[in-house]
Structures are given as structure tokens and as C-alpha cells.
């Protein structure tokens, strides 16, 4: 019985692997026109400040005490307009601004931006 089940598993795995090879392209790698540092220093910094302290008159949230994993999730939410099917986002203003900034070429990889911000704010 065990042997028979293993064969089924192998067949299934083989089938899935094959379909992955034939149907799917290799993982997409997106290229960005600016480095993460350039995006932050040329754009984000205007409202979020060099240390993530924000700008009181714009009600920018304080980001300097967030870990890079938390920043990554916030950025993910901002770029995607929420992370649940129909829950929406509590970053509605930044969601709008982010789309405008992407149009202007200030696009970035979420993970590397989160790590950059965390590293820069801590200095």
C-alpha cells in the first residue's frame, strides 16, 4: 500500500512539475529606473523626512520605530491598495500618491525599500 501511494505522489509531483515547466514562464524580474536610495532621497524624503519622523502639517505617520518587516507590510499595502479581498486600505491618501509617484518613475521593490528605510532611519 505504502509503495502504491508513493507512486501516486511521484506521479502527481511529476505532473505538477511538468505543467510548471511547460505553462509558466520563469519568475518575472522587474527592473526599476532608479535605485531604492534614489527614490527615497529624491521623493519620499520630502514628506517622510531623512529619519522617517514625518511632517506634522501633512499628518505623515511616524515610521522611524517600525521594523523593516513592518515597513515592508505597510509598503505592500500602500502599493496594492489593501491586502484583503474587499477590506480596502487605511492608506487611501498614500495609495493615491503612490500611484502618481510610480507614474513619475519613483517605483521600487518593496522589500529593498523597507530594508533601506529601516537602515537609514536607525543611523
Amino acid at each position: 500500500m505504502i509503495k502504491k501511494l508513493s507512486t501516486i505522489t511521484l506521479a502527481a509531483v511529476a505532473m505538477l512539475t511538468l505543467s510548471a515547466c511547460s505553462g509558466e514562464k520563469a519568475a518575472e524580474t522587474k527592473t526599476y529606473s532608479k535605485t531604492t536610495a534614489e527614490v527615497y532621497q529624491q521623493s519620499c524624503i520630502k514628506c517622510h523626512g531623512a529619519n522617517g519622523a514625518g511632517k506634522a502639517e501633512k499628518k505623515t505617520p511616524r515610521l522611524e520605530d517600525r521594523t523593516s518587516a513592518e515597513l515592508e507590510q505597510d509598503l505592500f499595502d500602500v502599493k496594492n491598495g489593501g491586502t484583503n479581498q474587499s477590506s480596502g486600505t487605511d492608506h487611501e491618501i498614500m495609495e493615491h500618491n503612490m500611484q502618481k509617484l510610480i507614474d513619475k518613475g519613483y517605483d521600487y521593490d518593496v522589500k529593498s525599500m523597507a530594508e533601506y528605510m529601516y537602515g537609514t532611519f536607525k543611523k
Partner: protein
């Protein structure tokens, strides 16, 4: 459980509803289809080999629902010398929550869902029937019921989340999905046309509510205003993001079956501005809504239910062009909102959800409550010997059993590595959660769209079929296959 036993169990289930699918058709699908074969195989034998480790140490798992108990089982299978403790107060914690949609929709009786925690405690795992009342991660300990102290080398937090009905004015209770201690919520939810499949008893009451709606609809006459069935989706992360729509699809199907669909208008009121984060699935769902004559109003968040006048009040919000923003070099936007009142005959409430207060207010929580982790390794952002999975973890991915099923294997590998290597190098060497999740969106009686996706927000179907199509085969998977796969495969730590 062997493959033949599972197959027999599935076919016995199919037999209960010959009107949906015949045993002959089901058998044909299950034996001929390589898809079903692969799923059956993964339910009976683990697809990833678990290598035995002789590591020792104390692991405390806070929460013994599907995520916590499956993690305990897989840890047990993987490292026989580990000292494993699960802390869980709810006697029905391992109940089958994905079935609540089917109970609410009149497909299953509630008895299909109810599973006793004590039947799923793995051998040689200590179960503590209590609740953690405080976390002290700086000293590697937790306190249970205010008095009993437990220390650990590694802690895994899998408490699940709270259904916060009382955040909506007029409703009551902060409860969990399957804890029978839910009297506070039942005062206002599960009667008088106000329903929610999000808790076990509520799902049974929902079907009664739909039957009452059908009875009312049978008395409706052409020319009278239509009966109003309202379906909500809140402004918080929720477990099973598809359920608010699934119960709408099933209500539609049951109204049609009863021949009274024309008497009722079905409207979806989500807080967000789309049906799904993945554009392909969003579009597919919009088309399914159109085909069924559903209405929908985006950006409406339920804030109050007045049961006396059968009125639901929503906070409708939107953005308008704001002032010129020098920094942005564009016009900014301003947030606008107003209250909108909607009359209902039947309302399905998806409650706002939150992390348990004891988690949110502790050092392992966060400002939003959910436990912050590195999303690939599921290791806590500040405490290296704390991991988290399931509904309480903050990852930008759906809170579903399908997510937990991917996460628990990652956690087991990483906890064992952490113990073996004294915490070093979890980030670079170990198993990573790729963000896969799955939403079997029940779109009718007999059809399901299997929406699978990952961090990239691209469809990631496990089989080469157009994932935006509604299919019989996924109905089989959702209604008959996933339960044995969860109860016998995942809760034993194998699938």
C-alpha cells in the same frame, strides 16, 4: 487514513446529495483526474519528507486550533525528543471552519463541523486547557489563567483572531469562530434577519435565516418592492476573505432553487473598492456578479444595525481632488464620507476582526494587534525564539486554512533549525513561506472558482487550467476533499 478510506468517505458524502452530483460522476472525477489523484495523495502521505531530528528543548504553542495543533503534530513527527505543550481553552478548537459557509448555505448540517480538540492532541504532547493571560517574551515565559507559569525555549503563537461584533453599534459580543462560549453575540446575531456564518452556531442560524427569507419571498407579489438581502465586508483584515461573497452566491442559489429569486435583491457592501486583490480574479468575480443580477456598492463600511427598524447604517467614504501638493507635484486627495442607511430583510454581517487583546497589548503584538513577523520565515521581528502563524500573524496574505497549511511546515523546519543551530542563520538557510494562499470561492451549488495566488498578486494555479473559471472539480475539492485532507492530513502534521 488510507487513500481508499478517504475515497470511500468522500463518496459517502457525495451520496448524501445525489441532486448535486451522482456517485458515478464523482467516482469518475476522483479516479480519472490526475488533479484529484494528486490531492488525495497529498492528504494521505506527506509531500515533503520530514527528516527526523534528535533535538531537545521546550516548545510552547499558544493556541490549539488548526494552525497550532497541526504544528504540534508535525513537530512531534519531526523531533521525538522535543517537549511540546499546547495551550488551548476551547474544547471545539479543531472544528472545521471552512465548512461554516456550507452550513450557512444549507448544504451541510452543523454536525459536519464539530470536532473535539481532545481527539486531535498528538501523542506525547501536553495539552493545557486554559488561556494565556500574559506574555513575557523577555523572560521566555507565558502565564496561563493568571497563575500558572510556562517557560520555553521556542514559542509559537497561533491564537487565532476575535470576531468583534460589538464594534458595530447595535450588535454585541467579541467571540471566536468555534468557541461555544458565544452567548453575548447570540443576543443580537443569528436572529431577526441578522446573521453571520463567521461563528459555528451563527452558520446554522444563517440557514434558518435564509429559509425565513425564502418563506417571505414566497408571499411576495409582482409590483411590490423587492425584499432586500444585504451582505457586508468590514474594513479590517478578515479570515477567509471569500466567505462574505460565498454566502451571497449560496443565498442566490437557494433562492433560485426555491423559485423566488425575482422577489429578492442581493447587494454587496464592501469597505474596499474591489472584489479581489488579483486583477484576474477581480474581473472574474465582477462577471459572476453581473451574471447573477447582484448589485454592489464599494467603499461602504457597516457601522450600525438597528434591529427595531431593520436598518443598516454604513460609513460611505471616497476621495476627492484636493489641493496642489508641492512635494508630490500633483493634486493630492481629500477623504470624504457620509452615512448611508439601508433597509434590510436579511443581512449577512462579516464582523470586523482583531487580534486577541492579550496578544495586541503584549510585547509580541503590534500597534495594529497582529503579530509582526518576517513574512518569509515567520520569525518574530524582535524576538528570535518566537514564531507565529495562522489568523493572528501579520502577513500580507489571506487568513485561511490554506495559508496555515503552507505556514506550519515552514515554522516546524525553522523552529527545529533554531534549536539545532542555536538561533543562527534562520534567514539565510531555512524554509521560506512563499506567500501562497488559496480561496475556493463557492459560486453556486456545484461550482467553485479556485483562486490561488501569492505575494506577487498573480494567479498561481497548481494545475494548468484557467483559474478564473467556475468548475465542478473544485466543488468536489471544496466540499468533499478538503475536509478529510484537513482533519486527517493536516491535523496529523502530514499534509
Amino acid at each position: 487514513m488510507s487513500k481508499n478510506q478517504i475515497l470511500e468517505e468522500i463518496l459517502a458524502e457525495v451520496d448524501k446529495h445525489p441532486e448535486i452530483m451522482s456517485r458515478r460522476d464523482a467516482f469518475k472525477y476522483l479516479t480519472m483526474s490526475p488533479l484529484a489523484a494528486s490531492m488525495l495523495a497529498s492528504a494521505t502521505v506527506g509531500t515533503t519528507a520530514v527528516s527526523a531530528s534528535n533535538v531537545t528543548g521546550k516548545v510552547v504553542i499558544v493556541g490549539g486550533g488548526l494552525a497550532g495543533m497541526s504544528t504540534a503534530a508535525r513537530l512531534r513527527n519531526s523531533a521525538s525528543d522535543l517537549d511540546i505543550t499546547v495551550i488551548e481553552p476551547n474544547p471545539l478548537s479543531t472544528s472545521y471552519q471552512p465548512g461554516q459557509t456550507l452550513v450557512g448555505g444549507g448544504i451541510w448540517p452543523k454536525s459536519e463541523l464539530v470536532y473535539n480538540r481532545d481527539d486531535f492532541v498528538p501523542d506525547n504532547v501536553t495539552l493545557i486547557k486554559g488561556s494565556v493571560t500574559s506574555f513575557d517574551p523577555d523572560n521566555n515565559k507565558v502565564i496561563v489563567d493568571g497563575k500558572q507559569e510556562f517557560t520555553y525555549d521556542q514559542m509559537i503563537v497561533a491564537t487565532g483572531l476575535m470576531l468583534n461584533f460589538q464594534a458595530i453599534k447595535g450588535l454585541t459580543g467579541v467571540i471566536t469562530s468555534c468557541n461555544p462560549d458565544n452567548a453575548e453575540a447570540k443576543k443580537t446575531v443569528g436572529n431577526d434577519g441578522v446573521h453571520s456564518i463567521y461563528f459555528q452556531d451563527g452558520s446554522e442560524a444563517t440557514w434558518t435565516g435564509i429559509e425565513e427569507l425564502i418563506a417571505k419571498a414566497k408571499k411576495w407579489k409582482e409590483g411590490e418592492p423587492k425584499l432586500q438581502a444585504v451582505f457586508t465586508h468590514p474594513n479590517t483584515p478578515i479570515k477567509c476573505g471569500g466567505a462574505p461573497k460565498k454566502i451571497m452566491y449560496l443565498t442566490h442559489a437557494q433562492l433560485e432553487k426555491a423559485g423566488v429569486r425575482d422577489a429578492v435583491e442581493l447587494t454587496f457592501y464592501p469597505n474596499g473598492g474591489k472584489m479581489f486583490g488579483v486583477p484576474e480574479y477581480h474581473e472574474a468575480i465582477v462577471n459572476q456578479f453581473k451574471a447573477r443580477g447582484f448589485k454592489w456598492n464599494y467603499k461602504h463600511n457597516l457601522v450600525e444595525v438597528d434591529k427595531a427598524t431593520k436598518t443598516a447604517t454604513f460609513n460611505h467614504h471616497w476621495t476627492e481632488k484636493g489641493e496642489w501638493d508641492e512635494d508630490l507635484e500633483e493634486y493630492g486627495v481629500e477623504l470624504k464620507s457620509k452615512k448611508v442607511e439601508v433597509k434590510y430583510d436579511f443581512i449577512h454581517v462579516t464582523p470586523p476582526m482583531k487580534a486577541p487583546d492579550v496578544v495586541a497589548s503584549s510585547k509580541v503584538g503590534s500597534s495594529k494587534g497582529w503579530i509582526p513577523v518576517k513574512k518569509e520565515t515567520l520569525q518574530h521581528v524582535k524576538y528570535k525564539n518566537v514564531f507565529s502563524l495562522g489568523d493572528v500573524v501579520a502577513v500580507p496574505m489571506g487568513k485561511t486554512g490554506g495559508s496555515a497549511r503552507k505556514q506550519y511546515k515552514v515554522i516546524v523546519n525553522n523552529v527545529i533549525s533554531a534549536l539545532e543551530n542555536d538561533q543562527k542563520a534562520i534567514d539565510s538557510t531555512n524554509t521560506k513561506y512563499a506567500g501562497y494562499t488559496v480561496c475556493p470561492l463557492v459560486t453556486g451549488i456545484g461550482t467553485v472558482m479556485l483562486a490561488e495566488f501569492n505575494w506577487t498578486k498573480k494567479p498561481t494555479p497548481m494545475v494548468p487550467l484557467d483559474p478564473t473559471q467556475e468548475r465542478w472539480i473544485w466543488w468536489l475539492l471544496k466540499v468533499y476533499l478538503l475536509k478529510p485532507m484537513t482533519q486527517y492530513g493536516m491535523l496529523s502534521g502530514r499534509a
